[in-house]
Each structure stands twice: as structure tokens, then as C-alpha cells.
């Protein structure tokens, strides 16, 4: 086996060194981090083994609360994945040049989150071996089918968006990195698909980038709108709302933007990219988060004010549980800690500095997860049909350790995927500009 000496690696520019060095050296901290994530996943796999072995009875899900934290988590992951389209489409099409260094991070998060969302749906199935019945017993009238179609489509699009963004830099890795293992060299050679910076290649890549930038937007809106329709087409209080589509989409953009800020801070710190992810990026992301939070606040008011004004029937019971009942602490944490307080704090410039905004975005992300819990569970527990003569366990939902272990391990899987992708590819474009028509392209094959 060839001995690798990292010190032998030559870089052409300081920028190249800064952005590529983490691909060739592996710190003990990184190994421990990976080890921790794998350990959490092993516990999750054991819990899943128990679920497959004994059935969904090991969970707290019963006839009424038939969607538990798995589905809350699924909605959360789908929400986070929307951040890819925010950067690759909305900000890009609006010529927000400042956001270009963040496109790749957003795509890495989007790809990882949508993979985890797809997996968690399979985990939620009591009989995963019957998954293909969804296809063989295909019924186009079912919102579940719409969701399966749109998630697989968005998964492919997210991969393509990430690939479009990193292709020129994979070629740089192939051409520059000498002190890496052979498997990695082979990997870069295959995935670089003969990229040689030829003007025709750049022109074509630029064209597909623009097409995808436009095409991803309706798909991104559709994925979370269809996810909201899974609820809106089910007869439960809190879901009988025409507001649900935009409510979900706006919440997703807000959660995704917070996730990006969170990731930016960690990546900047760990990969020492202070010169590339600057305080100005945090400041602009903070302003963007304020805008997205305001939109989400507007839909929140629409979602709760009407039913809360009337407080009738089972809708009123469900809202009482949220406002003053058993979910009150969680509800007010989500609304105040995850929405209103971040919104107010981020209006002050000092709070848009990296560390304060990192803490604020953490609160937003946590609020976003618990928000999905509050959307799913309390509504399921309040049925329009009277609940009579059922087992006591049907009336409450407290997730079991198996559900928590699987849910926590899905987070570990998300972080593991993000970590691996960051370890494989440069997170910031090596050229100071992303590939576009204005970039002067020079062939670099000598």
C-alpha cells in the first residue's frame, strides 16, 4: 500500500490550500465525531431491529396517534431540505452574489436531509417489506403516492443541483490532490466525468445550472405543499385548513435558513474558513431569517387566530390543549423561543454576529422540530368521531425508547451524511466565483 505524506501535497494558491486541506488530512477530532455518530446509529439500528422483530407495538403509536415522532421528524427533514432550493434558485435567480459561497453547503444539507426523510418513511412502516406495494398497487388519487413521487423527484434534483455546483471542483481535486488514497483518486476521476474546463463544457454546465435553478422552484414548493396535503386531506382538527400549504412552505424556508446558519458556524470554525464565510454572510443570513420569520409569523397568525377566536367543538379542545393544556410549554417555547424572540433579536446588528446568531438559529431549529411534533400529535389525539371503549394506551402518546433511539439516530445519520460529503468535496467553490457565463474559463490541462 502506498504511503501517504500529507506534507508532500502541493497547492497552487493559498485559497486552494484553505479549501482543500481538509480533504487530505483527518484529525482525531473528526474520527471521534464519526465514531460517536456511528455509535448512535448502532443503538438506533438495534431499536429498529426490535421494531421489525416485534412490530410497531414497541412504539407508542396506536389507532388514533398512528403518526408519531417518525412523521414529525419526516416533515422536519423535508422542511430542512428546502434550503437547497432557497439558495440554488431563489437567491441565485435574484443575483444575490453574496450567497454563492453558501450554495454548496445548502445543497449538501438538502441532499442529506431528503435522504433521511425518505428513510424515515420506510422506518414508519410496520411492514417495510411491503413498501413496493405502494408501486404495485399504485393509486394516483392518493396523496401518499403524490408524496412518494415528489420526494423521489426532489431527491434526484437535489443530487443534480449538488453535482452541478461541485463538478468543476471535483476536477480540481482529481488534478491537484496527489497525497490521497487511490480509492479517492479513482472516485474523483469517475465523478469528474472528464471535466477539463473546456469552454463548451462550462457553457453547457452554465445552461443546466440555469434550467435547474428554475425547475427546482416548483418542485420545492410542491414537495412541502404535498407533504402538508397529507395532513390537510386527513379529517382531524387543526389540519382542516386551506392555509396549510403556504404555512408549511414558509416554515420550511425559515427552518432551512436557520439550519444553514448553524452549519455555517460549525463549518467555518472547524475548517478554519473565517476568510470565506465572513461576518457579512452571517449578517445577511440574519436579515434573510428575519424576512422568512415574518412571513412564517403571518401564516402562524392565520393558522391559529380564526379557530382560536371561535373555540368551537373539537377544534377548540385541541387549541386549548396547545394554549393552556398539556402541550402549552412546548407550544409557547416554539412560538416564542423559535419564532418571535429570534425575530426580534435578529433585528439588532449585534445579534447577527456569528456566535449570537448561531445560538439563535439553534433555537429556531429546535423550535422547528417541536413545531412539527405539535402539528402531528395533538391533532391526531383529537378525533371528530367519538372515542369509545378503547384501550387506555390509545388515549395518550409518549414515545418509547425505541422511537427516541431511532429518531436520534436519524439525526446522527443526517450529520454523518453532511460530514462525509464535506470531507469528500470542497464546501466553498475553489474559483472565487461559481461557474457562470461571466467567468473566464481557461483550460487547465497541461
Amino acid at each position: 500500500m502506498r504511503k501517504i505524506d500529507i506534507k508532500q501535497q502541493k497547492f497552487e494558491t493559498p485559497r486552494e490550500k484553505d479549501l482543500l486541506r481538509h480533504l487530505i488530512s483527518t484529525s482525531l477530532k473528526y474520527k471521534l465525531w464519526i465514531g460517536l455518530l456511528i455509535a448512535i446509529n448502532l443503538v438506533g439500528m438495534y431499536a429498529y431491529y426490535r421494531q421489525v422483530r416485534f412490530g410497531l407495538i414497541v412504539t407508542a403509536m396506536r389507532d388514533y396517534t398512528s403518526w408519531g415522532i417518525y412523521i414529525s421528524n419526516f416533515v422536519f427533514f423535508v422542511a430542512i431540505s428546502l434550503v437547497g432550493s432557497l439558495f440554488s434558485s431563489i437567491l441565485k435567480l435574484n443575483n444575490n452574489v453574496w450567497a454563492k459561497p453558501l450554495i454548496r453547503v445548502s445543497e449538501i444539507i438538502a441532499v442529506s436531509a431528503i435522504i433521511c426523510a425518505a428513510v424515515i418513511i420506510i422506518i414508519d412502516m410496520g411492514r417495510p417489506d411491503r413498501f413496493f406495494y405502494v408501486i404495485t398497487h399504485f393509486r394516483i388519487q392518493s396523496p401518499i403516492i403524490w408524496d412518494v413521487i415528489i420526494i423521489s423527484t426532489y431527491l434526484v434534483i437535489s443530487f443534480l443541483l449538488l453535482f452541478i455546483s461541485i463538478l468543476p471542483d471535483i476536477a480540481v481535486c482529481r488534478d491537484r490532490l496527489t497525497e490521497i488514497p487511490n480509492w479517492k483518486k479513482r472516485f474523483y476521476r469517475i465523478t469528474a466525468i472528464n471535466w477539463s474546463n473546456h469552454p463548451k463544457q462550462a457553457e453547457r454546465l452554465n445552461k443546466v445550472s440555469k434550467i435547474m435553478g428554475i425547475a427546482v422552484l416548483p418542485v420545492a414548493f410542491a414537495i412541502h405543499t404535498v407533504t402538508s396535503w397529507l395532513f390537510a386531506t386527513t379529517w382531524r382538527p387543526g389540519w382542516n385548513s386551506t392555509n396549510l400549504g403556504p404555512y408549511f412552505v414558509s416554515g420550511a424556508f425559515m427552518a432551512g435558513a436557520a439550519a444553514i446558519i448553524f452549519a455555517m458556524y460549525i463549518i467555518r470554525k472547524e475548517l478554519k474558513l473565517h476568510a470565506y464565510i465572513t461576518e457579512d454572510h452571517f449578517d445577511k443570513m440574519g436579515r434573510l431569517l428575519v424576512l422568512l420569520s415574518l412571513i412564517y409569523l403571518y401564516f402562524n397568525i392565520n393558522e391559529y387566530l380564526g379557530p382560536a377566536f371561535k373555540m368551537v367543538g373539537i377544534e377548540g379542545d385541541q387549541l386549548s390543549e396547545l394554549f393552556t393544556g398539556q402541550y402549552a410549554i412546548m407550544y409557547w417555547f416554539v412560538q416564542i423561543g423559535g419564532l418571535i424572540l429570534p425575530l426580534i433579536l435578529l433585528m439588532f446588528k449585534v445579534m447577527r454576529k456569528p456566535f449570537p446568531i448561531f445560538l439563535i438559529s439553534l433555537s429556531v431549529v429546535l423550535g422547528a422540530w417541536f413545531k412539527r411534533y405539535l402539528i402531528v400529535i395533538p391533532s391526531l389525539q383529537h378525533t371528530y368521531v367519538p372515542i369509545q371503549q378503547v384501550d387506555e394506551s390509545y388515549l395518550h402518546y409518549i414515545p418509547t425508547w425505541e422511537e427516541w433511539a431511532i429518531t436520534i439516530s436519524s439525526f446522527a445519520s443526517l450529520l454523518l451524511l453532511i460530514t462525509i460529503l464535506i470531507k469528500l468535496f470542497p464546501v466553498i467553490p475553489i474559483k472565487s466565483e461559481e461557474h457562470d457565463s461571466e467567468t473566464i474559463v481557461e483550460p487547465n490541462i497541461k
Binding site: 398497487h137 399504485f138 393509486r139 394516483i140 388519487q141 403524490w146 413521487i149 423527484t153 434526484v156 434534483i157 443534480l160 453535482f163 452541478i164 463538478l167 466525468i193 472528464n194 471535466w195 477539463s196 473546456h198 463548451k200 463544457q201 453547457r204 454546465l205 445552461k207 443546466v208 434550467i211 435547474m212 425547475a215 416548483p218 418542485v219 410542491a222 369509545q388 371503549q389 483550460p443 490541462i445 497541461k446
Partner: protein, 166 residues
């Protein structure tokens, strides 16, 4: 083993009474000697399309005369003539074997079900999905996957472009 040997067959006889407001099912349970069976738990059901609907209170236990009465809901749909199937069961009793007694009564609300399973609708079988839905969903899938395949084809074309100095 001993418990099973001691088990005996009970007999359940049903009678029905109704006045203007209420309909009542009276079940009388006797043991194999014809004596009233006291404290026997009975379950009352009405047969529905897919399963049995439980009626009565949570616990319906016979009194010292072996009798238990259960009110029949006045708003349950029956068939076109109002017939409903009432089922009374003894389940998991310590002394008596499981038993099921079934009677048809004209106590339901006459309901004519339009057999529209052959019509195209959102709730029909897959083969009878609404045409507009099929066209719109298929159209959207076709457009977006055409773009995806075009992008993949573009990557293929990119891979075939030879470097300038070769």
C-alpha cells in the same frame, strides 16, 4: 386443562322491545341446566361493512335473573329496508365457552347505497381515477422528469467533450 374441562355451554336468548323513543335488546343467559347465569359479561355488536360496531355500555353483565338490557342506537344505517345484523357474544368467560348469537332486525335507518364504484372519482379504485387528475399529475411528472433526463443527458455530453490540447 382442568379449567377447560369445567367449562360449559351457555345459552343466550334475545328479545327485542321498542317504544316511540327507544329500542332495547334484552339478552337472557342460561346455563346448560337451564338456570339463569349471573354475572356473565356479554358483548353486543352491529355488523357493519368492514367490522363489528360495539354497542351498549363498556360492561354488560347479567343480573341474578341472567338478564342484561342494552339500548340500540336509533340512528344506525341499515340496508335498503332498514335491516341490521345484531350479534351478541360471550367472550373469554371463566365458566362458559365462547358463543355468538346473530339476529337480523329491521331497526336500522333504511339506506340506499349508490353503487358508484364503476364511476371515476377520487375514492374509486385505481383504474377509475378521474381523467383530469391522471392528465394533470402525469403531465407534471412528464415535464419535470423530461428536464431531469435532459440534465443527465447534458452531463453525458459534457463527459464526451475532449480537452482542448488533445
Amino acid at each position: 386443562m382442568y379449567a377447560q374441562d369445567d367449562m360449559q355451554d351457555a345459552k343466550v336468548s334475545l328479545s327485542f322491545s321498542e317504544d316511540t323513543d327507544t329500542k332495547t335488546i334484552t339478552a337472557t343467559v342460561t346455563d346448560q341446566n337451564g338456570l339463569a347465569a349471573e354475572e356473565v359479561e356479554l358483548s353486543f355488536f352491529v355488523k357493519r361493512t368492514f367490522s363489528l360496531l360495539k354497542i351498549g355500555d363498556g360492561f354488560n353483565e347479567t343480573d341474578e335473573d341472567g338478564v342484561v338490557e342494552v339500548a340500540f342506537p336509533s340512528d344506525l344505517p341499515g340496508d335498503a329496508e332498514g335491516n341490521v345484523t345484531i350479534i351478541v357474544k360471550i367472550l373469554d368467560n371463566d365458566l362458559y365457552n365462547d358463543l355468538s348469537v346473530e339476529t337480523i332486525k329491521k331497526w336500522g335507518v333504511p339506506t340506499i347505497i349508490n353503487d358508484d364504484k364503476d364511476e371515476r372519482s377520487l375514492w374509486a379504485a385505481a383504474a377509475n381515477a378521474p381523467i383530469t387528475l391522471i392528465i394533470s399529475v402525469t403531465g407534471m411528472i412528464f415535464v419535470i422528469w423530461f428536464i431531469i433526463l435532459y440534465i443527465i443527458f447534458s452531463f453525458y455530453k459534457i463527459s464526451k467533450i475532449k480537452p482542448l490540447n488533445l
